[in-house]
Symmetry: C2
Subunit: 216 residues, 2 copies
Amino acid sequence: MDALKIEDLAEQVSKSLRDMILTGELVPGQKLVQTALSERLGVSRTPLLAAFSKLEKELLVELVPRRGAFVKQLSARELVQLYEIRLRLEPLGAAEAARVAGRKGMVDLDAALSAQAKALTGDDPVAIRLADYNFHMAIMKLSGNAILERILSSFSIISKSNQSGLMKSGNKSLEEHTAIRAAIIAHDDQGAEQLMAAHLQESRNVAVARLRQEEA
Amino acid sequence: MDALKIEDLAEQVSKSLRDMILTGELVPGQKLVQTALSERLGVSRTPLLAAFSKLEKELLVELVPRRGAFVKQLSARELVQLYEIRLRLEPLGAAEAARVAGRKGMVDLDAALSAQAKALTGDDPVAIRLADYNFHMAIMKLSGNAILERILSSFSIISKSNQSGLMKSGNKSLEEHTAIRAAIIAHDDQGAEQLMAAHLQESRNVAVARLRQEEA
DNA sequence: GGTTTACTTTTTGTATACAATATTTTGTGT
DNA sequence: ACACAAAATATTGTATACAAAAAGTAAACC
């Protein structure tokens, strides 16, 4: 069985840190002191260092030589750039998902969607963000493009961009997600692509507006 | 001065390994034995491990727990997926480059172009591939979208995809590059975007054909 | 002869130790 | 009291050491 693959500590640590960053337990700009973290996670500094290297590539951590590791703070400009990229890649994923969608994958997608609906009944912003992230990633997974999935997940692009308060109202998001799901089920690749693009475009515009404001 | 930043060993090692892989010195599938490599590069295994972690994120290395590190072999399917992604991201970069192109950036672009012309007079495939890579990356850099530049370079997407013999004839490539450059200079963002898309589309088609053939 | 099993060697994964560099604190002079 | 310098402390980067797992090898068995 391939699914039950053993994870090395570096990967586990990497996951823990990613969670801590995405849930806001570790805040942007914060220094990641090796000794403190290794003690907290119960591992030595060696796997921690490997994890830092991974997370640096994911734009979650910034590695400054001889100064240490810091939780990366995305600038308004970078946020816009991130959205430009999402705007190109996620519609591609949605279209591919619509082409190949079968019974199997839909289960995960539907699960993600109902989880989002449930999260919206509560008021935990972290849970809401996570639900949104899971829905988007479920589509990318469905697309069958492993590299696409990896770029988007690996860079934590989705979570990170939402973290900055750019996420639209939960109910509107849910509506749009529902529409995207419908297009995918109907194998309407162009529809899925366009709906996804529209879904992201608004957030991008907010990001751009914020950048303008900051520049002024 | 920020430009003269000190690089830690992990980053240097990472660079060396990347070069070795992209030049073909280390071939896909080959196992990367830690002791041998650390001795060869004159460093201990610690920075080597960090470098492996980085390169894994770049799709250049595959890390199998308890088995070691291997030079990643891209499947025909992954190659197509890579092209789908390039096809979305590089036209974006070309369009943005055309919008912001100024005198400063053009120098680098022109340098990359003449370097390519020069490389084509020789018959070193590695040099030709590198020149192609440099031209594409010069545009991404010109675009000002640092994240885009980072995704494309970091994943070594361009080199890797060309490595598989999908690169079109050198002269045709040079012609198309020249046209793209012209569009960028003219601030013709739509033109640049379309030319870049067309430039990549052909290679993608070859990749798709190869996948079909392999499947049959 | 080929296959399994036990043993040896290699290689990985992790922890720890140590030197070099930053940071903080303390002290001194103005 | 403030600014600056010097020592003390903390933290990083790297090497090395050691245990656990995998790979390789040789011997015994069918």
